[in-house]
């Protein structure tokens, strides 16, 4: 028993935190053992971030105590937390694009010479040692950060936290914007850290990751502690039940794809993709798989008229069309739900209703003038239809959770009634409950005849929804898989380039290949 107590690195006892008008954390208790990976789950808004902010000294708890290695401590601010050995990697980037990797990692404490100038030689050397130790030797400390891929940037972020030699490392959605291969590297690093006795708090929405990496999992719901479980003793559904308080309806696969071809992409060439050819059928969900940086988003943006392509032809219902601006795409019945909800999809400081009608203000026009009552009417209908949880349609979007925000972006496009809807990472940073609701909405759309192109980095999502999957690797199409050939392993092979269905001699230019 004594031994067990010694094993506990950190203990949160009955932590309570109030914000004006709301209890963000209520009586939360958490134990963190030496060398364990402790997953923290909960829907968006459940209080995970607040808890992390309490731990890192950004917020002071209104009640309860923090016990670090058997001693009660007060985290006055971030610096104190850092000195006590708590390292944190936030979901938002804290790195500067214009500086080198080394300068980013040692942002606050670069080695200096006697004159107070930065000693770059020493800085680069110590960064190299750190990166080697973490198994990231392929990152050059002198490279400017902006030249690294998002995955590598995430690694730098983690290296930055580890440069302080923390005993406790908090990772907030570390895989949200990196590919699966990068994620694997990350897991290796985490495992080697835990061997050295570092305790890791791992926050993620991705159930598969939790089962891969975590030893124990704790769940929060509406600021309340729901319990802690050994990962070996439970299954995914148990966690989901704790998070949402109910069972999720499993999606049954049913294709709504018809034979009619609505869209055809021929010989698309651009800065980030080469020789792309494919067809899209009416009512079909076409999955676009690939690693981060494979050129999927760039391709989608080119189809939508957001970015320029070098060459290529686009056919809609057999007619060749040219699209130079999103508005033209929209007029032709194409919609695009962007990858980054907050940066590209939403008007955060505007209301729910203003967001919903953003693509199509004309629907609220009567006698050539805008009718605000009509906007509210339309918005209310979509709030109802998509189950958007908001007090009213006049609520600012910034105050809503990720899932509800994503539904609002979706509503915006539904209002347009598109023939083709491109969805880019539709469930990025969305909690499980909202995820399945979004899937249901997409399915319902195809039933009504809309065709969907779905870009996703979550393979399970692609596998369960798509009728067909295209795989891109470094801007090249490497596979087109019908549903019966779906398998995670296969897709990963094509995505990483170890396999290619279309070697150059097999590909005939201008001939879209259909495998069905």
């Amino acid at each position: 028993m004594e031994k067990y107590e010694n094993d506990i690195k950190l203990k949160l006892n009955h932590i309570t935190k109030y914000f004006p008008g709301v209890v963000a954390l209520e009586n939360v208790t958490l134990e963190l053992k030496t060398g364990e990976v402790h997953a923290l789950c909960g829907e968006n808004g459940a209080g995970k971030s607040t808890l992390m902010n309490v731990l890192s000294g950004n917020h002071q708890p209104d009640g309860g105590e923090i016990i670090l290695k058997g001693q009660q401590v007060v985290m006055e601010d971030q610096q104190v937390a850092q000195q006590m050995g708590i390292g944190i990697v936030y979901q938002e980037r804290s790195l500067v694009n214009d500086l080198s990797v080394a300068e980013n990692i040692y942002a606050g404490n670069q080695p200096t010479n006697g004159w107070g100038f930065i000693n770059f030689k020493k800085l680069f050397a110590q960064t190299r040692i750190l990166l080697e130790k973490l198994g990231m030797a392929d990152i050059d400390p002198t490279t400017k950060l902006e030249y690294l891929s998002p995955g590598k940037q995430q690694m730098v972020e983690i290296a930055k936290a580890l440069s302080q030699n923390p005993e406790i490392l908090i990772l907030d959605e570390p895989t949200a914007s990196i590919s699966e291969t990068d994620a694997k590297v990350l897991f290796q690093i985490i495992r080697s850290l835990t061997k050295e006795g570092v305790a890791v708090i791992y926050i993620s929405h991705r159930m598969s990751e939790i089962f891969q990496i975590a030893n124990r999992v704790s769940v929060l719901k509406d600021g309340k502690y729901q319990g802690t479980k050994e990962v070996g003793e439970i299954v995914v559904d148990d966690i989901i039940r704790m998070m949402v308080g109910r069972d999720l309806v499993k999606q049954d696969y049913k294709s709504h794809a018809l034979d009619e071809i609505v869209m055809k992409v021929e010989d698309f060439n651009g800065p980030d993709y080469l020789n792309i050819n494919f067809e899209l059928k009416k009512g079909e969900i076409l999955g676009l798989a690939g690693l981060v940086g494979a050129g999927r988003t760039e391709l989608a943006r080119a189809i939508f008229g957001m970015d320029k392509k070098y060459e290529g032809r686009l056919f809609l219902n057999q007619n060749q069309v040219t699209i130079n601006h999103p508005l033209e795409a929209m007029n032709l019945g194409i919609g695009y739900l962007p990858e980054h909800r907050k940066e590209q999809g939403l008007f955060l400081e505007m209301t729910v209703e203003e967001n919903i009608v953003a693509t199509n203000l004309v629907v609220a026009v009567e006698n050539r003038l805008l009718q605000f009552s009509k906007i509210t009417e339309i918005a209310d209908a979509y709030i109802q239809k998509l189950g958007i949880k908001t007090p009213d349609s006049k609520q600012k979007v910034v105050n809503l959770s990720g899932g509800n925000q994503q539904k609002i972006v979706l509503a915006k496009w539904l209002l347009l009634n598109p023939k083709v809807l491109i969805v880019d990472e539709p469930t990025h940073g969305v909690d499980v409950g909202a995820k399945s609701e979004i899937y249901a909405i997409l399915k319902e759309l195809t039933e009504k005849g809309t065709s969907i192109i779905m870009i996703s980095s979550e393979l399970p999502e692609l596998l369960s929804l798509s009728d067909r999957i295209l795989v891109l690797c470094n801007g090249n199409m490497t596979a087109e898989l019908p549903r019966e050939k779906f398998s995670e392993e296969e897709i990963m092979h094509y995505a990483s380039g170890t396999k290619n269905m279309f070697t150059s001699d097999l590909t005939k230019k201008g001939q879209p290949i259909s495998v069905s």
Partner: protein, 327 residues
């Protein structure tokens, strides 16, 4: 959200209340000097020119941009119109059209370079401010007087007790209030200011809209400049100096944010009215000009600070909306 906090978040309402309080207090302190028709109509006359520019600035700031060259455009448009009439005897309406045309061209250059080429609006309009001020010096030099009477009547006629600039101001404010709240065209500026990328991805022609907004503010500034020349019966190369910052101050007081996406046209006028009243009160109190700037600066900071505090306290939290959604 309580009704009271909601009202306090609306700058149009808080500013109206502040103005009312200011008027009541001033009427008590100077019962014979302040609340007279003479005095108040003069206050309106003196803020009318800046209000016309502020309307354009409000639209620009709603779209998340601003224009520092407006003061120079005011001087240039008035000067160019005067230049044509005085030196070349150009027919008054033609001279006015030419002045407006010049202003619109400047606005187009600003808009094109900001929207299409991608120059930061601060840098672009700062550069334009200098260029246009130079042009204004070229056309009006040491100042031009003795305009045709048919030109002077535009800004010097008194209708129902108010001089024409006041009427022009009211018409422009009313017109743009209506347009901005009731047409899809102007509504799009809120989206552009709210999130430019999302606006483009929502099918708004952001670049074109931006060019239009710069043209609009330049046109309004040009009109204001011509009106000012007519009202004074003179064109000065120094007129409108520092106007850009006064107008931006008024527009921010009136509810705009530097980040864009916020503000109402009426707010722009309330902002200039508030500043005009402060200036009038200072004159009645015989306080020197620099105090006026100190006080306006303090009021601006105070207004923004109060705004931040109000917004912090009413943030809707997950628990709250979940409860409401369940109900």
């Amino acid at each position: 959200m309580k009704l009271s906090t909601k009202l306090l978040q609306d700058r149009v309402i808080t500013l109206s209340i502040t103005i009312a309080i200011l008027i009541i207090i001033s009427s008590i302190i100077w019962p014979t000097k302040f609340p007279t028709f003479d005095n108040l109509s003069l206050v309106l006359l003196n803020l009318s020119i800046e209000t016309i520019v502020a309307v354009g600035m409000m639209i620009l700031m709603i779209s998340g941009s601003f224009d520092l060259s407006v003061g120079s455009v005011v001087a240039f448009a008035g000067g160019f119109t005067g230049f044509l009439m005085y030196y070349f005897g150009v027919f008054v309406p033609v001279a006015i059209l030419a002045g407006m045309g010049g202003a619109i061209f400047i606005g187009f250059i600003n808009g094109y370079l900001v929207a299409r080429v991608g120059i930061n609006p601060l840098i672009q309009t700062l550069a334009m401010m200098g260029i246009v001020r130079g042009l204004a010096l070229m056309v009006s030099g040491a100042g031009i007087q003795n305009f045709p009477e048919s030109f002077n009547v535009i800004g010097q006629t008194v209708i129902l007790g108010f001089q024409t600039p006041v009427w022009f101001m009211l018409i422009i404010v009313a017109l743009f209030s209506f347009l901005v709240s009731k047409t899809t065209f102007f509504r799009k500026y809120y989206y552009i200011g709210g999130n430019e990328k999302a606006a483009k991805l929502s099918g708004i022609r952001v670049e074109k809209m931006k060019i239009y907004s710069f043209i609009l503010i330049s046109a309004l500034a040009g009109f204001a400049g011509i009106l000012l020349s007519s009202r004074l019966g003179a064109a000065m190369s120094t007129s409108g100096q520092g106007m850009e910052l006064r107008v931006i101050t008024a527009v921010i007081l009136g509810g705009a944010s530097l980040l864009g996406g916020q503000g109402k046209i009426v707010g722009a006028m309330l902002g200039t009215i508030f500043m005009g009243l402060i200036s009038n009160v200072m004159i009645l109190a015989r306080v020197s000009g620099y105090w006026q700037q100190i006080i306006l600066g303090l009021i601006l900071i105070l207004a923004v600070v109060i705004d931040i505090i109000l917004k912090k306290n009413v943030g809707v939290t997950p628990k709250k909306y979940l409860k409401k959604a369940v109900e």
